[in-house]
Amino acid sequence: MLERCRAFIHRLAALFHRRHLEEDLEAELRSHLEMDVELNLRRGMTAEEARREAVRNFGGVEQIKEIYRDQRGLPMIETVLEDLRFGLRLLRRSPGFSSLAILCLTLGIAANAAVFSWIEGILFRPYPAVIHQEQLLAIAGTARGESGPTGISWPDLIDFERGCTLCDALIVSKITGTTLSVGDRAETAVGSIVSANYFDAIGVRPILGRGFEPGEDSGRNAHPMTVISYQLWQGCQAIQSLRCPAT
């Protein structure tokens, strides 16, 4: 294990002074061949024979160098670096084509990202604030002979709530528009008419003030109540209306 560690460190270090090590290898192998040539000359060979014999004894010089280099560094990292460098050089050689390609990729990736986040928002996680989105179910009434959903009456809803054992809670929500007058200005606003258990059921708590309390929507304690969004609240403050409601 210790040896492996050492060998790895050695190889890693080799990545950083490759040129020096390459010269070292070159010199070492040259000195080897020259010594062999010298020995062969002393044995009485001609210069030509001596060189040929030395190379033959050695085995493929370039091959050995290749094996040596693989042993010396970390071939995988080196290959990746090599490829990166090659890629960059190619990009630089034809800047027009490169920038066009990069632009295409950028647009492609951007469009993809946009579409996917849109799909995620609309199809997979349409209500990010709701804690258990996957348990959310929409029920709408239909009437024979009519296409599209119709409204459900309040007594019906009460009946549903009583009879529904599958759901933890049944909430009612009807999207509606309203006019909002702040100071001397009037604006249209979008809101929903909801049942009192609305915020408790979807698990959303207001940052400031409170949501609805049970029994506030019907019966003796019922009275109109509004919870406004953070944006609207901020907007109100921007208009600097002193009568801006806090909840």
Binding site: E3, R6, A7, H10, R11, D24, L25, A27, E28, L29, S31, H32, E34, M35, D36, E38, L39, N57, F58, G59, G60, V61, Q63, I64, I67, Y68, Q71, R72
Partner: protein, 111 residues
């Protein structure tokens, strides 16, 4: 190339190099190659070049150390020497080699 010459078994080259350096002291690559061929009486068929990756491997494991020096005939050469860890490794590898060859011999002799 006759059949009585054998190729170096994978891994045994390390052992041969360590042993050579142990008995001869610091040597350059060419010297090690010559020595191994001499001692094996040229029965070992060794491409001298294959020695260098082996030397590097041993050096990476800190079993041998290398240093540039001047050869007997005034040539620049890289000298390799055994380290203390290398000596220990040699001992271990020699022992395991003995065990292995003894076992193989025993198997071959039983009929």
């Amino acid at each position: 190339m006759t059949s009585s010459r054998s190729e170096v078994l994978q891994g045994t080259l390390d052992l041969l190099v360590l042993k050579t350096l142990d008995s001869m002291g610091p040597m350059h690559g060419f010297g090690i190659a010559l020595r191994i061929q001499q001692v094996s009486e040229d029965l070992l068929q060794l491409n001298q070049g294959t020695l260098y990756p082996a030397l590097l491997r041993l050096e990476q494991r800190h079993w041998i150390a290398s240093k540039w020096g001047i050869s007997e005939n005034n040539r620049k050469a890289k000298y390799y020497s055994l380290t203390r860890a290398g000596r220990k490794q040699l001992q271990e590898e020699a022992e395991s080699w003995e065990r292995m060859s003894a076992m193989i011999n025993r198997v071959l002799r039983t009929t």
